[in-house]
């Protein structure tokens, strides 16, 4: 099995690393202004000057994918941060202490789980207005249940271990046990879950932009570009292909990385 492991890590690393590099460059230097419209270049074909061609406003798709990928990355990372952070907190407390608290929180968790994330997003967006950071908050909240479940099952298992009992015998406080003793041992399961969470966040952001409640124009996110591109599918198929490809590479890279890490 040895040869197979680094195969995953290798390909995953290249794809994810490539994407991150692509985005990083985008932070400093952009070939064109992503929002500059240019009447002459509308639906321009792929050319050396415009490697990905131009969209319906004559904006350079290559630059917009670069900026779009950054927005999608920021949204996905933000979502995972909120989801994982709050999820770990809730999961650890309910898993470790159990009792009626666990019962109540789990019921709320199930309710959130069965709740369509679109409505949740709509509430947050209408409450605070649209924009990147509100999308992050909306998706973050929708991701808490799945993280909480994973962390809770880990804590249920690990709190029975002897070294936890030993720590209690020393008079170690509950909080210290939860976050100093037990938490590091959950990383083995947490890392792949975070990666999968990241992928779902990217796909969810794309879905939300498609339904029109995600990131607002003229900002670009891969999901928004994809939904706009669908109207011009026959005239400029490239406009849909490149953002779609960027999403796939980003998600593929991170899921392979998750598998590679998981198997090591």
């Amino acid at each position: 099995m040895k040869k197979k492991i680094n195969y995953n890590l290798l390909v995953g690393g290249i794809l994810a690393g490539g994407m991150l590099l692509f985005i990083l460059i985008g932070c400093f230097v952009l070939p064109y202004d992503p929002e500059a419209m240019n009447d002459g270049l509308r639906f321009a074909r792929i050319s050396p000057a415009h490697p990905f061609g131009c969209d319906n406003f004559g904006r350079d798709i290559f630059t917009r994918v670069m900026v779009g990928a950054r927005t999608t990355l920021v949204v996905a990372l933000g979502t995972v941060a909120i989801g994982a952070g709050a999820g770990t907190l809730i999961g650890s407390v309910t898993g470790y202490f159990g009792g009626w608290l666990d019962e109540v929180v789990m019921r709320v968790n199930d309710a959130l789980f069965a709740f369509p994330s679109i409505l949740m997003a709509l509430v947050v967006v209408s409450l605070l207005g649209s924009g990147k950071y509100h999308v992050i908050l909306a998706l973050g909240i929708a991701f808490i249940p799945s993280f909480a479940r994973v962390v809770r099952s880990q804590y249920l298992k690990l709190k029975e271990m002897d070294y936890v009992k030993n720590a209690r015998v020393f008079g170690c406080g509950h909080l210290r046990i939860m976050f100093v003793h037990i938490l590091p041992n959950t990383l083995g399961v947490m890392v792949p879950t975070v990666m999968i969470g990241f992928n779902n966040a990217v796909l969810a952001e794309a879905g939300m932009s498609y339904l029109g409640i995600g990131v607002q124009p003229p900002d670009a996110s891969l999901g928004r570009m994809l939904s706009e591109a669908q109207t011009y599918l026959f005239k400029q198929p490239m406009y849909a292909v490149f953002p779609g490809l960027a999403i796939i590479i980003l998600v593929l890279g991170f899921s392979l990385l998750a598998d590679g890490l998981g198997e090591k």
Binding site: M37, D39, N56, I213, T231, F234
Partner: protein
């Protein structure tokens, strides 16, 4: 081994389903008599009662089923319909209609004066919120001297009252008009599958010139992005209001007919909010936005630039010269901004309804153009419902891009809203000269004087740059080459009766 056989069985079922698709790929069977499938963006409202219809999409379809005493034609004139002719008293308060002979309802019942009185009374009951027609509140009395004439007397003179008389007439004997459809139009109702389709069929003994095509299916295509696919695949034969880009992607079994959408698209500015309370700032924006550039970017140059709240289809009221009142002049714009105290520009937010791609794209182009006079416009997409309650009703916005159409052929439907005290004045426009000019138009009985007064209103709107007017958008109708005879109307109407099948 049990598990293994189950999964094999399931696989067989799947391949069977796939095979099924192969054989039913071609169109669903050619029926002998003529038929057409027309795509519509929103579903028709469920109630079949014409007086309850609110959405433009519903009135557009009901035009083929129900008719009023008079009926608009494609040039915007009102022709006699259920009334063979009509006379209006000189002081515009008494309207006399004589009923046309031998008009039948779809149910076969004869049209009588009772039906006319019943229908009009139904729409003038003040506490019936849904059916009330605002203009009917000024009706003093309706009499029927004999079984052929109806006389309506108003409490105050109203020259445009005739435009209201396209109000649909339905039989008094129909107990539940919302579920049983009985009109006098060229087509009669067959069936309505919610969010799916609305089917009508030719009414054989129609009083006027009968329709050409027998069966008509209005198919709901909610997803704007898949319209091109559905047209190209032949699942729909006609779709009104496609955008220029969509029209460009159609294959060659389609003719693309060009007309106008008959609405005023503009960057509507909230005149009560800083900095748009200063006329110089509004004028600066008008000087900065080059109308033709917006047209080029959003609809390949199609569409008619306009300068005020009126569009060409209104014929005598439209003033083409206003369109060029403001031509692109960056220096003048900057100068105006400096005078108003905004040398280094300012930032504001444009709220645009997310479901109208044409307005969203126009907003983006305007935002890009305004950068030249370092004014930054941020765009916020909001849902149509939120636009209705926050922007239109709540007036909680700085600027918005939307298209306002006319509910009927009266000039007032476009200009009433800019009176300072009007409940529909969502841009908080406040100009005493405008109010005076509008009052003059309402009061005058002589046609020339009224038209001159309305034109004065339009000039004031343009001079005071109430809004940054852009265009009356081009309307493209994709019509399969098999059909012809489509006519553009100034109102939101699809006259299917005129369509016919071209014999090869």
């Amino acid at each position: 081994m049990k598990k293994r056989s189950i999964s094999m069985l399931l696989a067989v079922v799947l391949t069977l389903a796939l095979a099924l698709t192969g054989c039913s790929g071609e169109k669903q069977g050619e029926s002998t008599d003529s038929q057409i499938t027309i795509g519509i963006p929103q579903d028709v409202e469920e109630s079949l009662d014409p007086h309850e219809a609110v959405a433009a999409g519903t009135e557009e379809v009901f035009f083929n089923i129900y008719e009023g005493l008079v009926k608009p034609d494609s040039d915007g004139n009102l022709l006699p319909a259920l009334a063979s002719d009509y006379t209006i008293s000189p002081d515009k308060t008494v309207f006399t209609f004589t009923l046309r002979e031998g008009v039948k309802f779809h149910s076969g019942k004869e049209l009588t004066v009772e039906d006319v009185v019943y229908s009009i009374k139904r729409c003038s009951d003040p506490d019936d919120a849904v059916r009330l027609k605002a203009a009917f509140t000024s009706i003093a009395s309706i009499e029927t001297p004999d079984d052929k004439t109806v006389v309506i007397t108003l409490t105050a003179p109203n020259a445009d009252f005739l435009c209201e008389m396209d109000c649909p007439i339905i039989p008094a004997t129909n107990e539940s008009p919302s579920t049983v459809s009985d009109g006098t139009g060229p087509y009669k109702f067959v069936s309505h599958a919610l969010q799916e389709n609305f089917i009508v069929e030719r009414f054989e003994d129609y009083w006027g010139e009968p329709a050409h095509i027998k069966n008509v299916t209005f198919k709901v295509c909610a997803n704007p992005d898949s319209i091109v696919m559905e047209l190209n695949s032949g699942s729909i034969d006609m779709f009104a209001r496609v955008t220029s880009t969509q029209a460009a992607q159609l294959n060659d079994d389609f003719n693309v007919l060009e007309g106008t959408m008959n609405l005023v698209q503009a960057l509507y500015l909230n005149n009560a909010v800083k900095p748009f309370d200063d006329v110089r700032v509004r004028q600066a924006l008008c000087y900065a936005v080059d109308k033709q550039y917006v047209l080029d970017m959003t609809s390949d140059g199609y569409g008619t630039p306009i300068g005020s709240s009126m569009f060409p289809a209104f014929g005598k009221y439209y003033m083409p010269e206003l369109a060029d009142y403001y031509t692109k002049d960056i220096d003048k714009a900057k100068q105006l901004l400096a005078d108003a105290g905004y040398e280094d520009g300012f930032t504001f937010t444009i709220k645009a309804p997310s479901n109208y791609t044409q307005h969203v794209e126009a907003a983006q182009v305007v935002a890009d153009v305004l950068k030249e006079i370092n004014v930054t416009a941020k765009i916020e997409l909001i849902e149509w419902e939120t636009w209705l309650s926050d922007v239109y009703a709540g007036r909680d916005f700085e600027a918005t891009v939307v298209g306002l159409d006319a509910s009927n052929l009266a000039a007032s439907s476009m200009l009433l809203r800019f009176n300072s005290d009007s409940s529909k004045n969502f841009i908080n426009y406040n100009n005493p000269d405008y109010d005076a000019a509008y009052a003059r138009a309402e009061a005058s009985t002589d046609e020339e004087a009224r038209t001159a007064a309305y034109k004065e209103c339009e000039r004031i709107l343009t001079e005071t740059a109430a809004n940054v007017y852009i265009q009356d958008m081009a309307e493209f109708v994709a019509l399969n080459k098999k059909y012809a005879g489509y006519e553009f109307y100034p109102l939101y109407v699809q006259d299917v009766a005129k369509l016919y099948i071209v014999e090869e």
